[in-house]
Symmetry: C2
Subunit: 130 residues, 2 copies
């Protein structure tokens, strides 16, 4: 899908831009692997996280694999939020690329809550902007 | 879009899994910022990169902002490849999360070629799997 986003995009993209861009790479081990094959729950969790962090969702793409694993991406006005679940390892890889005012911590906390995380590993790296 | 991928997913996902997962975070400064507002070129470049690295594209989501900036994500059988362009800074943030046999180096080389990169900065971090 190749969309043109009338005046919305620039309103969203410009004012929130104190020139910070960060990549949050989060690995999440969950208590109950069944969560990771519940595609609707995974999708609702990502959307709830984006909302909690102040992000605006512009689009999404989700795929469900035959073993129930879910891959999903939300395209945000503030970049993107993705998930890849590995039910066989009770694991999900979550990536948030974000800039400006978006609260990465809030996004990821809600995602961890939504997946009922038992253990997490987070790496945050600064990214170039400008 | 929430798709069910008949038997394809498991064929693709299982055999290529020597349990390595990597995140490649690439920032690319380009010679000619016009490339970064050419949505079809950006999209074709991502697809060519994915193909060159041996990835299988399962879905995509692209958005074009009013200033011409492009945000796009390819959902891959091997995870995802995303781009966020900043024409005002002659910059693109490219992220590839990949596992198994996929050649991240090949993907990113083709992306850099397609954008006519002048300068790049790459950070690669291992991610949990299993």
């Amino acid at each position: 899908v190749l969309d043109d986003l009338a005046p919305r995009g620039s309103e969203l993209r410009q004012p929130m831009q104190p020139r910070t861009m960060r990549l949050h790479a989060l690995d999440v081990w969950v208590r109950d692997a069944a969560v990771l094959t519940d595609a609707e729950r995974v999708r609702a969790t990502l959307r709830a996280g984006a909302l909690a962090g102040g992000a605006t969702v512009l689009g999404e793409e989700f795929c469900v694999f035959p073993n129930g694993a879910v891959t999903g991406v939300l395209v945000l006005a503030q970049s993107h939020l993705s998930i890849h679940t590995w039910p066989e390892f009770s694991l999900a890889n979550v990536d948030l690329l974000s800039y400006g005012e978006l609260s990465g911590v809030d996004v990821l906390r809600i995602v961890c809550d939504g997946l009922d995380a038992e253990r997490t590993s987070l790496t945050t790296i600064p990214r170039a902007i400008g």
